[in-house]
Amino acid sequence: MGAMMRKKTITNSRRQQIASATLRAGKFAACLIILLFAAAALGSDRFPRPEFQTGYEIPPNELGVARAAFLFYIDAAVLFAALCAASYLVLKKRSRKGVLALMLFSAVYFGFYKKGCVCSLGSIQNITAAVFSNYQVSITVFLIFALPLVFALFFGRVFCSGVCPLGALQDIAAVRAKKVPARLSAVLGFIPHIYLGLAILFAATGGGFIICRFDPFVGIFRLSAPFGMMLVSVGILLLGIFIARPYCRYLCPYGVILGWMSAFSKYRVKICSATCAGCRLCENSCPADAILPPTTDPVNEERSRSLLRLKTYIALLPVWIIAGAAAGWFSADIVSSFHPDVKLLRVVELDQAGAAGARSLESEGLRIDAEVITVLRARSDAAKKSFKLGMVILGVYLGIVAGARSIRRSTFKKRACYEADPVTCVSCGRCYGYCPKGTNSAIQ
């Protein structure tokens, strides 16, 4: 090692000699450009700082500072305040109008003012990256991740209703919501779990933040985005007129975690009381299909059949788990081919094979040589290996989720009246206003 280092310095001094030899001997034509190039080898100040005669003073280098730290703390404080307000408005005040006003505020503050980043959805990845690597997480980012979850533990998904700027945009847009068929909803509801799993997998392996990359609304908050991205944003927003909160229900990975927390929540949205007229207006108004009807209607099925179905689904659970693991194992290579290290190696190898004709910027930028390729190959292999393991774990998880979904839908749970499912309810408060008995009278 020492010998190598010495060789390097010798080479450098040689270069200087070469450069000075160029100056002295004027070998070949010593025109200006050549001087420049010869000096290029030296790398540092080729042209000395001039000494000015006219009293000109060299201006200072002014770059300014980044956003002040206290502003980040204010953001966290505003988040906390907004969560408190949302909890109060949803659970205590039961005011749809109040929630709407809070939504508008959040869309403006967390969306248009803060330009959407860092949001709680994306913070999943920051936390994951910090768990699996030496990625730095600041207090504010941690709070952005954890505060909505803590509130969900006690008050349900109040974050979704009044605080999340993405939810706010969609909720305002949801004016002609149509019911999504239960069967379609059951299938689509599976996507957030896959999305969450992949996001964690990519963040854990240093493969980038895919939730941020495919965030459909961040372009709206910034009022500028690549054309295609903007089209998708507006498209999803307009789709939200008819299918309420499409992103929240069928994509949002943070919603999955909020759902877990909310399942244990202490206080929940309550809809119904003894005075319920059974008008079904609240059920139809729910944008998240989270209002479960009373189970007072007769079940037109023999009990043995229901039991058999339940047993079948319970028996299928290990099958889903094993098949899910297998699916994860087999599809790991496809998924890992989107990992940047794997992609980069492929680009560089194509360059090396000369198949692409021109060398890519990546090869140029990383000054590719045999050593770099060896490192890249090792990194690519490591990523592929982690994906094999990660995809198997994801497969097992998805198997459990899928099995649980079928089992839950085959069990009979007694409900005397309308109930909001804490896992899926986004506490938007829409149902309060729809109750013909008035906002507060609904629970009296």
Binding site: T11, R14, R15, I18, A21, T22, A25, K27, F28, A29, C31, I34, A40, A41, I172, A173, V175, R176, L184, A186, V187, L223, M230, L237, I241, C279, L281, N284, P293, T295, D297, V299, N300, S306, R309, L316, A323, A326, A327, G328, F330, S331, D333, I334, L350, A353, G354, G357, A358, R359, E364, R367, D369, A370, A402, R405, S406, R409, Y434, P436
Partner: protein
């Protein structure tokens, strides 16, 4: 209350639909603006680069300047206007969209919906169990799709990544055959020794006496001609284009031109020195294909008919004069000395497929070319760089030995004869290494080294036990190659960039004015002939069976020579070259300004004409690397070598 609600609804309706219309209009306008800027790209568009190139070529044209100034103004205006439009448009679009949605939203809350028909059956249990079934089925489908997808990916991806090139079997032309042609820079092995000894000595380029033909080279360049069978291969290059040419040996006709565009349009053309140019490296030919490399790092393999076989972009070399190491072929393998500041490499590439067989790292920059020689028991590929003389095993790329003896900016390539590898470079040393007798550690000893008059670009030439050096200032020095003793020195009028070539027992050497001097390769200086081609010469000639191919700055010549044995020397004496305007021929190449056009006068002086037209002497082939020759000479040199080794203590600084 009711009335108020109705009014509010009317007002909101009045907001909702116009804002929807506004939203739609702005959206369409925005999309149009975006598409327009995508297509025209006012600032980065191609219009600019074309007009920039135009103006660089015609710097004096004021019209063009005015035009580009107007265009520039327009483009910037268009760019900033479209940016402004985009920004305001997007803002207005979302304001309109927000107004549309919010007003609609409020309207929906004004009239609560009616409850559904009371008698409607719910059948919630059926719905729930059905969705359970659907969820299970969807899971099964997802699992099946991902498993099949994974399996298909596994079987399809591996071969698709790097396409395997399947080629028909091809008969490799025996390297032994190469000696009858001029397959690369400085002939067989790259050591400047001609196989044929019947090369012409007398000619006059101005009078076209002894010249079979001369053809203008389409693009400038300092690459030397390469000849195989009835074709000459040459390259030319500029910042805009790089080309490979082929000429007919018989009549000098341009047979084909190949436009090299390996690196694509966004190639950053490197700046090069005018005396190096973009096409300094000579091509190499293996009898099947011809290979060419340029200062841009573009490497291309073409058939002998000029069709693309494969190409590679090695990256723009970090080289302040411009890449100039020539190519070399041996046993179907192409060797590319790709030296640069930091990431230089020596590539061995399969000539048929273009696959890299091996690559070896290189320490530092150089402008020399590789030679490949048989040092007794094996072939060695010998390269110079600014610090080292390094020998590689051509089959594996293993470094066989190296000597840290070079210095400065190395342009001349090594010489070889009788087992001795000789090197020389201005500001460094001249010296010889006994490659045939490596020491116990495998490193052959350096027999001698010496400073003094040293060559700048012309490679040294080694003939038997003599070493000839030709300097840029016009001195030719003859050393005893065993101990470095200077046997003679002669000052010519003009310096040498072209490398000397040994033809039989004579040395042929073009000076920068294009005068070819022929002198005996002996321990005493004996000038035989001097003939002028009529324009500056920087390249090295190709010497073949009774003729020489030489590239001047603007023209390519075939020299057949004046037959003075039969018809007498009238042609020569009548050649009146007093009024040669060298600057005229100079303009195309635009290289060096010849101060004294009169130098080219008095073109052909004959000192000794006997034996210049030797019959084809293939027996002389043994000059090139035969085992016996090398062994006998190296034995001798060992005896005298030891005492001479420390003649001059070279320690870096000078």
């Amino acid at each position: 209350m009711r009335f108020n609600k109705k009014t509010l609804d009317q007002i909101l309706k009045g907001v909702q639909w116009p804002s929807a219309a506004a939203c739609l209009t702005i959206g369409i306008l925005l999309a149009a603006t975006i598409v327009q800027t995508k297509i025209h790209a006012p600032i980065t568009g191609s219009d600019f680069s074309t007009i920039h190139q135009l103006i660089d070529r015609n710097p004096a044209e004021q019209d063009l300047r005015d035009e580009i100034r107007a265009l520039d103004m327009l483009a910037r205006k268009a760019y900033f206007t479209s940016m402004h439009q985009l920004r305001t448009g997007t803002l207005l679009f979302f304001i309109a969209l927000a107004m549309f949605l919010i007003s609609w939203n409020i309207r929906t809350t004004l009239y609560p919906p009616l409850p559904p028909e009371p008698g409607e059956k719910r059948a919630w249990w059926t719905a729930q169990t059905r969705s359970a079934k659907t969820a299970a089925m969807a899971t099964a489908v997802i699992i099946a799709v991902s498993i099949t997808g994974g399996v298909i990916h596994k079987f399809s991806s591996a071969p698709a990544a790097i396409p395997e090139v399947v080629l028909e079997e091809e008969e490799i032309i025996d390297t032994e055959q190469f000696i009858f042609w001029w397959m690369n820079f400085r002939g067989p092995g790259g050591i400047g020794v001609a196989t044929y000894t019947n090369a012409p000595m007398l000619f006059d380029g101005e009078a076209m006496a002894g010249i079979r033909w001369k053809t203008k080279t389409p693009l400038e360049g300092f690459s030397s001609p390469v000849v195989y069978e009835n074709r000459i291969y040459l390259t030319g290059g500029s910042a805009d284009s790089r080309q490979v040419f082929s000429f007919d040996v018989e009549d000098g006709r341009l047979l084909w031109t190949y436009d090299v565009r390996v690196a694509g349009d966004d190639l950053e053309v490197p700046k090069v020195d005018r005396e190096t140019g973009y096409a300094a490296p000579s091509v190499a030919c293996d009898g099947r294909r011809v290979y060419a490399i340029f200062a841009t790092g573009e490497l291309v393999a073409l058939t002998l008919d000029g069709e693309h076989v494969w190409s590679k972009f090695l990256g723009v070399p970090d080289n302040h004069y411009g890449h100039s190491s020539s190519l070399m072929v041996h046993d179907g393998i192409l060797f590319v000395q790709f030296d640069q500041y930091d990431t230089g490499k020596l590539f061995a590439i399969n000539g048929r497929t273009g696959n890299v067989v091996w690559e070896a790292p290189r320490e530092i920059l150089s402008w020399a070319s590789p030679i490949i020689v048989n040092t007794g028991s094996r072939y060695e590929l010998i390269l110079l760089d600014n610090d080292f003389v390094t020998s590689y095993d051509p089959a594996t790329g293993t470094k066989l030995w190296s000597h840290d003896c070079m210095h400065g900016e190395v342009g001349p390539s090594p010489a070889f004869a009788s087992g001795l590898v000789s090197v020389a470079n201005e500001y460094a040393i001249a010296g010889s290494i006994d490659a045939a007798n490596p020491g116990e550690d495998g490193v052959p000893p350096m027999l001698w080294r010496m400073r003094g008059d040293l060559p700048n670009t012309a490679s040294p030439l080694s003939v038997d036990s003599l070493l000839f050096l030709a300097t840029a200032t016009g001195t030719v020095i003859c050393h005893n190659n065993r101990d470095g003793t200077i046997l003679w020195k002669h000052d010519f009028d003009r310096g040498f960039y072209s490398s000397p070539i040994a033809v039989g027992n004579n040395v042929f050497l073009f000076d920068r004015n294009g005068v070819m001097h022929v002198f005996e390769a002996s321990a005493e200086f004996n000038l035989i002939a001097s003939s002028a081609i009529g324009e500056p010469v920087t390249t090295t000639p190709a010497v073949l069976d009774g003729y020489i191919i030489i590239r001047g700055d603007s023209y390519l010549y075939r020299i057949d020579g004046i037959d003075i044995s039969g018809t007498g020397d009238t042609d020569v004496s009548e050649a009146d070259t007093d009024n040669v305007d060298v600057t005229d021929t100079n303009s195309a190449g635009g290289v060096n300004n010849i101060s004294n056009a009169g130098n080219v006068n008095n073109t052909s002086s004959v000192n000794n004409t006997s034996g210049t037209r030797n019959a084809r002497n293939v027996a002389n082939v043994s000059n090139v690397n035969t085992v016996n020759n090398a062994r006998t000479v190296s034995d001798e040199s060992n005896e005298s070598g030891e005492s001479n080794e420390a003649h001059w203590d070279y320690e870096g600084d000078y």
